[in-house]
């Protein structure tokens, strides 16, 4: 397998705002990809280390973010297997809070993450990047390295404004400058009993420049329980609404990444 070139897809869960369900999406979608038999890596780029915590791994990378970027060692040396088949983790490290400064030292900072990931492509079908909430050099590098951004949006006005900012950014050509990075937005923590949510969802779906995925992740206790269970929702609530929604979302993303031949 190692000799044949893999068609690896890099997916980043991203939003300028925090607390919108990036980590939940990254952890659950990566888990589902792995469950389907795809070797999958999740790189927790967020110094808060939420996804690292969810997999019970120590948030520590020897040499820190700077060491990884300088490629002093092979990124694969820092990879930890999770407790789940086919799913591995490149943990977060507290030093990632200075990743911007570290990136800035390179001539082409935006392409740096892609270079760190390059040797890992031979091993994985999917690489998920769980990004910190910000708009910075790190996000620029993430955009550059990714095939698709997965943008969770809470259907409330504030958060959708943040998405509009991202849209503006994309149209100004700062996203995926070199490669065509797809941007898939999806609703997260959606509560269909709230008129405001319905209103915002409807409005956003009408913006043509945006790819808003059909599936919305409902607001649910299970997603909140992930912190307690320290597992993807499919492990402890395999039939719950959140699991079903993530499965449908993943199916839609996979179809969009690998459209069936015409």
């Amino acid at each position: 397998m190692s000799k044949t070139k893999r068609d690896t897809r890099v997916l980043a869960t991203y939003n300028i705002k925090g607390g919108v369900g990036k980590t939940s999406a990254a952890v659950n979608l990566a888990y589902l990809a792995a469950q389907a038999g795809h070797p999958t890596l999740l790189w927790d780029l967020d110094p808060q280390a939420a996804s690292t915590y969810l997999f019970r791994v120590r948030p520590k990378v020897k040499g820190g973010g700077r060491g990884l970027l300088k490629r002093r060692s092979h990124a694969g040396d820092h990879v930890k297997a999770t407790d789940h088949e086919q799913l591995e983790l490149l943990p977060a490290d507290f030093s990632y809070r200075h990743l911007d400064l570290a990136l800035d030292q390179f001539k082409k900072p935006a392409s740096r993450l892609g270079r760190v990931l390059a040797p890992l492509r031979a091993e994985y079908d999917y690489i998920f990047l769980d990004c910190p909430p910000s708009i910075s050099l790190v996000s620029e590098a993430v955009f550059e390295a990714s095939d698709a951004l997965l943008v969770p949006v809470i259907p409330s006005t504030l958060s959708s404004r943040a998405y509009e900012q991202l849209e503006t950014l994309a149209s100004h050509g700062k996203v995926g400058r070199k490669r065509k990075t797809a941007i898939f937005a999806f609703f997260s923590m959606a509560d269909v009993t709230r008129p405001l949510h319905l209103q915002v969802m409807e409005r956003l779906r009408k913006i043509e420049a945006l790819t808003v995925l059909g599936v919305a992740i409902p607001t649910s206790d299970e997603v909140e329980m992930m912190g307690e269970e320290r597992n993807p929702v499919a492990v402890f609530a395999p039939e719950g609404p959140a699991t079903v929604a993530y499965q449908a979302l993943w199916a839609e993303i996979e179809t969009r990444l690998h459209p069936p031949p015409e």
Binding site: F55, R56, V57, R58, V79, K80, A81, D83, E88, R230
Partner: protein, 404 residues
């Protein structure tokens, strides 16, 4: 005695592991798979445990570290070793301590007891077929045992000796076919690569036939190793080794001789014999002559490793073993090729009638040609390796170091 005695169920393994690894690690059965796993204090699985149980032969554990957790696993292994688990590295090392002036029968029994332990340690892995190295180490321990019985025969009562030697030969015979096929199958890729590229695919029926034979050989080996005869030998052998000194010495001329003296005499004799045998070999000698010399070489090697190394100057013994190894490698290459050719010729008959048999036969023909060339090359390099081994300086050194 019940067959089940000495077996631990996986729940007692969990209990043993739990007490050995606490408080840093916990051992539990994973929900879902039911597999025993070790978790660190964060609750993260750091390694999985494979537990294999061989009926009549006990149980053992294999640690499978998760990626990124090798260090934790090293620690787990260390903790287990502190609590009575046996390290895999010791499964073939003999390293018996001895003094030159000790009685030979006592020292020989000590070495043989250690070899018996090594057989015991490798038997479960052999029976469960976890890794072909278990069978290999098991067989080496038996071969060394037989070699010691032959070389140090003067320390045993003749009646015991004849019976035990026959039994160990029988035991070894139970395992030979499986070991040969283990190696053929392991190295099949190499063998196939020796055939012309266009013919390599035609060898598939050969591989299939070898696999089928391998299964059959394993089944009869397992039956033999679990048989009453094997069990009796195992028990009786311990009885003999436990009390060599108490037996009558009239029939055991070497029993009370100092082991240093006995070893020196044996090394000199076997070395002399090898030199004589080797000098008689010419490029036209039949393969059997090479094989006989190789067998003698193994005898000398075991004498050096088991007895001479702990008793005599390591500075002298180590280079001796090295030059002997050089010679044995050449002889081994020659023997391997001869045996492979024999195997291919014999198996060709069974392949004729199989689908794809004709193509396989042609490919085998090409292979045999190539193997013959290899054997020829080994015969060609024999003279040089033997000259080094049997040089005047070497012979003088042996005479000096192993003088009376």
């Amino acid at each position: 005695m019940s067959d089940r005695e000495g077996l631990l169920s996986s729940s007692s393994l969990l209990a043993a592991g739990r007490s050995a690894l606490a408080p840093a690690f916990t051992v539990e059965q994973e929900a879902g798979t039911g597999e025993p796993v070790v978790r660190d204090e964060l609750g993260k699985i750091v390694c999985r445990l494979s537990v294999a149980v061989a009926p009549g032969a006990g149980w053992w554990v294999e640690l499978r570290p998760l990626r990124g957790y090798d260090k934790e696993c090293e620690r787990i292994e260390w903790l287990l070793l502190q609590h009575g688990f046996t390290p895999a590295a010791d499964w073939s090392n003999v390293d018996v301590v001895m003094q030159p002036l000790e009685r030979s029968d006592v020292v020989v029994a000590r070495v043989l007891l250690r070899l018996r332990e090594i057989q015991d340690q490798n038997l479960p892995g052999t029976l469960v077929d976890a890794d072909i190295e278990y069978l290999h180490d098991f067989r080496v321990a038996i071969r060394r045992t037989r070699s010691v019985l032959r070389e140090m025969r003067g320390v045993f009562a003749p009646a015991d000796l004849a019976r035990v030697r026959a039994s160990f030969k029988w035991l070894q015979d139970q395992t030979s076919a499986t070991r040969d096929l283990d190696v053929y199958l392991r190295d099949f890729g190499e063998l196939r690569a020796m055939a012309p590229a266009a013919m390599q695919a035609d060898l598939a029926p050969l591989q299939a036939l070898l696999s089928a034979r391998h299964q059959g050989a394993r089944a009869s080996m397992e039956e033999g190793l679990r048989s009453e005869r094997a069990r009796t030998l195992h028990a009786e052998w311990l009885e003999i080794l436990k009390a060599p000194v108490l037996e009558d010495e009239a029939e055991r001329p070497d029993a009370a001789r100092p082991i240093g003296e006995l070893t020196a005499g044996r090394v000199r004799a076997v070395h002399r014999r090898m030199v004589r045998m080797g000098r008689a070999i010419t490029p036209d000698s039949p393969p059997e002559d090479y094989h006989e010399l190789r067998k003698k070489g193994k005898e000398l090697r075991y004498l050096l490793e088991l007895f001479a190394k702990p008793l005599f100057d390591g500075e002298v013994v180590r280079p001796m073993i090295k030059s002997l190894k050089g010679l044995q490698d050449v002889l081994g290459m020659h023997q391997d090729r001869e045996v492979q050719m024999e195997m291919l010729k014999e198996i060709a008959h069974s392949l004729v009638a199989k689908p794809g048999g004709a193509g396989a036969l042609l490919a085998i023909g090409a292979l045999i040609e190539r193997l013959e060339a290899d054997a020829e090359a080994a015969r060609g390099s024999f003279a040089a390796s033997f000259a080094e081994f049997a040089s005047e300086a070497q012979c003088k050194l042996v005479a000096e170091v192993f003088s009376r």
